[in-house]
Symmetry: C2
Subunit: 316 residues, 2 copies
DNA sequence: CTGAAAGCGCTTACAG
DNA sequence: CTGAAAGCGCTTACAG
């Protein structure tokens, strides 16, 4: 039982290959009767047109690329899962690659995708990535987390999350609200959130207390300790890892009553402090939005959109 | 600057298309001189043969599929990362799909991959998956976590991990060593580890104290509490989540001196208890082994191998 | 060592 | 409404 071709179907149906081809491509000009006959046969023998042969005639193999920075990032794999799901449903192949925050690797990956002739790409940007050539893939590019003029993007609104966190603490009578974040060199995760914090301090006439560090648990614990020593009576944690570290520090020191508020949430944080006031940055939604945006572009939309996904504040 | 074809190169080089084709395919019969000339031109103009056109002549588009159960599983995304990396280096396309522990979805995914004509697949098995048709993909199948006669597999040795955990506790004079695990319906993560525990109990003449539950943090905390109440003075945690839950419970209750030992380790666990004695199940290695196995199969090896990756016990 | 020709499985302009 | 023919960009058996 060898691979069936369009020719086999044509013979079985007693028509020409062209007609079979037209039916495959839903050409309405074929007589209804003929259509049915051919479709029945196709179904019966289980014929599938060769995607490769079609691709030779400019019916590109439907595929898109997606480049995450790290598969191990939970926010990224949430988004990734949605993106794969979306395109899978639209019968696209999805190629996944990891940039590992490495510009060169990112560019190699992009080049590869160009060569593979994917119809578009979605990728997670990072601070050092440099400018991306926006004309690649006929402009079918969607960036997540980072914005660039001329390229559609989807970002989280972490600034708003910081604001909510701040206001929540303020409303609970915290006086010395501190910020535990990552270095400003990381624009998205570091600088933007820090700036939002500073802005709140100014608005509420609060003296800033700031600790910036690397995105590791131990640093979170250390930062928490330092901030408390510096007089903080409430802390806004800028990332999930720092939140985790801070919470464990408080548990250890038996200071769980210190109000902690967080930008980003995950199961570990929920477990460490089930009642935490935190921002769910909605990465699943980010993925979905990015997928929809790219899909529209592929279908011909040429407008660029910068979508901002709003956080959902949670407290159980 | 339109797409270059083999014809363009042939004309530029003043040779026939066949000769260019031979050079592309590293046919040694082409005169060295001619080869060089053609290669130079190819490099100069940046010509890339069309994978699609090649695919029409039985030079399949090099691609493999991989089906994880959950992208959000850290063990799986560790392995996935390695697999993608490996095949990317060998210039393969990698299609990633999620089965979500759903048999039907798994089968749909496999069918899709058949249709996409990937050369082989790697997938993460789970207890309910049912028998997989081992003749698909010319037998180029590698299963992770689950074994099936006639299909190559890569598994972790979690039983050995349990043994090490047990012996470690025993060596530290624990008398009542308990086991906190997931239900036996989950063969790999539940039953096998539980059995290993029971076996150790018998070997060391220890009365088993067992708590089986779902794989959630809260259950881990609850289980830990229950086991301590039942008289346990040391606990072996069967999964990362349960370990996390147990450790937080101990932190909360100020009982961190209770020796906990764990099958599986991650950054959160490390942070909660930097000195924990735990088994790193080596999922990155699992991924690498699976990739190598599949690659060998694709290259023609037809022997089936059941690889067991040994855990590395760690304690800082 | 190399080229002309046939063929891979489709699509589509052309002619009817 | 439908078929014969040309063409997509390669590979490869054949002949030289």
């Amino acid at each position: 039982m060898k691979k069936l071709t369009i020719r086999d179907i044509a013979e079985l149906a007693g028509v020409g290959k062209s007609t079979v081809s037209r039916v495959i491509n839903n050409d309405p000009k074929v007589k209804a009767e003929t259509q049915k006959k051919i479709r029945d046969i196709i179904k019966e023998v289980g014929y599938k047109p060769s995607a490769v042969a079609r691709a030779m005639n400019n019916q590109p193999i439907k595929s898109i690329g997606i480049i995450v920075t790290r598969l191990s990032s939970s926010s990224e794999n949430q988004a990734l899962s949605e993106i794969i799901d979306f395109f899978h449903q639209h019968e696209y192949e999805v190629l996944v690659l990891e940039s590992r925050y490495d510009c060169e690797l990112l560019n190699t990956h992009i080049e590869l995708m160009v060569q593979k002739q994917v119809e578009g790409i979605i990728f997670f940007g990072f601070s050092e990535q440099g400018l991306i050539n926006k004309d690649l893939f006929n402009g079918n590019i969607v960036m997540i987390a980072v914005e660039q003029a001329g390229i559609s993007s989807v970002t989280t609104n972490s600034q708003l999350a910081v604001k909510h966190c701040f206001e929540h603490l303020k409303a609970n009578n915290a006086q010395h609200i501190a910020f535990l974040g990552v270095h400003e060199s990381d624009i998205q995760t570091g600088k933007l959130r820090l700036d939002a914090y500073k802005q709140q301090c100014q608005a509420h006439n609060v003296e800033p207390i700031i600790y910036l560090t690397d995105m590791e648990y131990l640093n979170g614990a250390m930062g928490c300790k330092t901030l408390l020593k510096a007089g903080a009576d409430a802390i806004i944690c800028g990332t999930e890892r720092l939140t985790g570290g801070a919470l464990v520090h408080l548990l250890r020191e038996d200071k769980i009553t210190v109000p902690i508020t967080a930008v980003g949430i995950n199961d570990y944080i929920r477990m460490l402090n089930p009642a935490i006031f935190a921002a769910d940055l909605q990465y699943a939604k980010v993925g979905r939005e990015a997928a929809i945006l790219l899909f529209q572009k592929i279908k011909g939309s040429n407008k660029n959109t910068d979508t901002v996904v709003e956080p959902i504040m949670i407290q159980n």
